[in-house]
């Protein structure tokens, strides 16, 4: 009944997308609860000025056009706000488009800018994103975000995105902990209780990791030294997700500058190749997700997932589809062996664990073991807990959304900028602190995600020098 995306995607490295595209520079404003001293145009301008100053030979006249992204007109209360950014930066009459796709807005706009350059339409494309979420109270902001769920069938039940993600992780816990580590327990209620308690501890590890990493990122909104106990005992928001497992609302902007090969090497000694892009989607309503088969990656076998109904409400099929397309276009056969770090969309600690599986860092069902093993932690960092395999695959070395903040339209671009600096080896220069610099990072992935996994983008970036 269903088309296996991995069979359909079938693209060859470098061919499908036209010209090679490079990321040459980026800028990010500090993400904050509120930036009342800067409107959205000024915020973008700040990130833009920073990006321009990092490639001094680039002049505004060389920019062919732009892609500008923000998620919600409700937050701006100003339609065509992207047009006002284009105007403020003085880029008229060059071409521009506004890109919006929920939480994946930043990632989608990055790929739209990529397409503009790959196709030959532009040689240099400015991609800018922002969000101004402080303009309403937090609970009103949650309402705006919940309006990005089906307003006939989902929203009036008590629309709340933390609730939707909790519905997903509840099932994930049931599938993989209750029916995994606790499969031997006969009493159903007791088994579920134990599985939830264990999950709370493992979800907390994600939060501790990302908040700790952010202590060394001056752009982060919410760096904090936390313990597992702190995370577990913070306020319950939507069971089993506590406050410290959920990202906050933010004001912020980010800018990425993409260029063709010729322009890239003219502008900088350290351009980073965008070697792969992938994008996947899924039903808007969680309730409509089918129960089918797992689309396989090159390093996986069908028998891994015997008897697993997929994606159901427990996994992000869009994340899997996006990863498969991105890996195939970049020629990645096994991400654990061929990717050095990942900046992924951890709006919820639970989504980070689910995303390990979607991206093929471990099999479906092994996400909890993956965090427990320490693999996604940075080597040499003190997290106040045992992380035996730290450094195997650093995930969210910047601190991720949980600790950096999530000004929706900027988030996916923030990931691109942090990944650029990792691959250039310039984290120390841009952060004023080289602690988070991953040594010899050659290839990184960025992952941007919209409402309950209704759209996901994955882009692969590579150092070329």
């Amino acid at each position: 009944m269903e088309i296996n995306r991995s069979e359909r995607a079938g693209m060859r490295k470098g061919k499908r997308f036209g010209r090679q595209v490079y990321l040459v520079s980026g800028g990010v404003t500090k993400f904050k609860k509120a930036h009342p001293e800067m409107d959205f145009r000024y915020m973008v301008k700040k990130a833009y000025d920073y990006a321009m100053s990092d490639v001094p030979s680039l002049e505004k006249k060389d920019i062919d056009g732009s892609r500008i992204s923000y998620f919600s007109d409700h937050f701006t209360r100003q339609l065509k706000a992207a047009s006002m950014v284009q105007d403020y930066l003085g880029l008229n009459p060059r071409g521009s488009m506004r890109i919006e796709w929920g939480g994946a807005t930043g990632g989608e706009s990055f790929q739209s800018g990529f397409e503009a350059v790959a196709s030959g339409r532009m040689d240099i494309c400015l991609v800018a994103g922002f969000e101004t979420m402080s303009r309403v109270q937090t609970w009103k902001g949650n309402e705006f975000i919940a309006l990005a769920s089906d307003t006939n069938y989902d929203y009036p039940n008590g629309g709340f995105y933390s609730g939707y993600y909790a519905l997903m992780v509840t099932r994930h816990i049931y599938e993989y902990l209750r029916n995994g580590k606790f499969a031997h327990i006969r009493d159903e209620r007791e088994a579920q209780r134990l599985a939830f308690r264990e999950a709370a501890r493992l979800l907390s590890m994600v939060s501790v990791k990302n908040h700790t990493n952010a202590l060394h990122n001056p752009y982060a909104q919410y760096p904090r030294k936390l313990t597992i106990g702190d995370v577990m005992s913070s306020e319950m928001i939507s069971y089993p997700l506590t406050r410290e497992m959920i990202c906050t609302m933010s004001d912020g902007a980010a800018v990425a500058i993409l260029a063709s090969e010729e322009e890239a090497f003219r502008l900088t000694d350290k351009p980073v190749l965008v070697s792969g892009v992938g994008c996947g989607t899924d039903t808007m309503r969680l309730a409509d997700r089918p129960f089918g088969e797992v689309p396989l990656m090159k390093h996986e076998k069908k028998e891994y997932y015997k008897g697993l109904s997929y994606p159901g409400a427990h996994s992000f099929r869009a994340g899997r589809a996006a990863s498969i397309e991105a890996y195939e276009s970049a020629g990645v056969e096994n991400p654990m062996k061929e990717i050095d770090f990942i900046e992924l969309h951890d709006a919820y600690a639970s989504s980070e664990i689910q995303t390990y599986e979607d991206m093929g860092l471990c099999r479906y069902g092994e996400g909890y073991d993956f965090i427990e093993s320490g693999k996604p932690f940075l080597a040499g960092m003190d997290y106040g807990m045992r992380t035996p395999e730290a450094g195997k695959m650093p995930v969210n070395p910047s601190g991720g959304l949980i600790a950096c903040g999530h000004p929706v339209g900027a988030t996916g671009l923030m990931q691109a900028v942090f990944a650029l600096w990792q691959l250039q080896g310039t984290i120390g220069k841009h952060f004023g602190d080289a602690t988070l610099q991953i040594r010899n990072a050659r290839r990184g992935a960025i992952h941007s995600h919209a409402g309950t996994g209704s759209a996901v983008t994955v882009s692969i970036l590579e150092a070329v020098r």
Partner: protein, 183 residues
């Protein structure tokens, strides 16, 4: 003539939290920012009513008012959608309406201790995805007459319908099977 003393009536604050409290009272205030100087902050309200036709989903909402829960079925794929879709997402054929059983099981659940502004007063409330025998997809709903400690995946539940319909999806909700709550 505009009085030159108007702006002097505005209170100035160095904490943004205090600015927000003041604009709730007076509608305007000044935020003194270290680097950029004085920022004027005002209330800027916006409200709107939409004229919303349920269109091809109408029968579902009319059904709730009659105590009926409709899904839809694609005859070609032999697939039943618990949350109705008027066209099949696999083959594109038009579906037909299909009455769902009023009893099902909890597929997944959560208790929201917080919520969007519109639902904050109703917290804590439970959300659940319900699975039905012989139905291929799920249905999102509120779960009432039970709390966090009672709910588990697989719990048998049954539908309840509002006596006075709001013509919203929350005209139906689920309770633990056999619950004394309203029939």
């Amino acid at each position: 003539m505009v009085s030159s003393t108007n702006n002097r009536k505005l209170k100035k604050f160095t904490k943004y939290r205090d600015v927000m409290a003041e604009i709730n009272r007076k509608g305007a205030a000044i935020y003194r920012e270290k680097e950029h100087g004085d920022q004027l902050v005002i209330n800027f309200p916006y409200s709107v009513n939409y004229i919303h036709s349920y269109a091809n989903d109408s029968k579902f909402f009319l059904g709730l008012a009659d105590g009926k829960l409709f899904g839809s079925r694609c005859a070609k794929c032999d697939y039943v959608f618990a949350t109705p879709r008027s066209h099949c997402m696999f083959c594109g054929e038009q579906t037909s309406w299909k009455l769902l059983p009023k009893k099902g099981k909890v597929h997944s659940w959560t208790t929201c201790e917080f919520g969007s502004e519109a639902f904050l007063r109703e917290t804590p409330y439970n959300l659940a995805l319900i699975e039905f025998a012989g139905v291929n997809s799920l249905f999102m709903t509120r779960l009432k007459d039970c709390s966090l400690d009672d709910i588990y995946v697989g719990m048998p539940v049954e539908a309840r319908f509002a006596r006075k319909p709001e013509y919203l999806v929350r005209d139906v909700w689920f309770v633990p099977s056999g619950s004394a709550g309203r029939k």
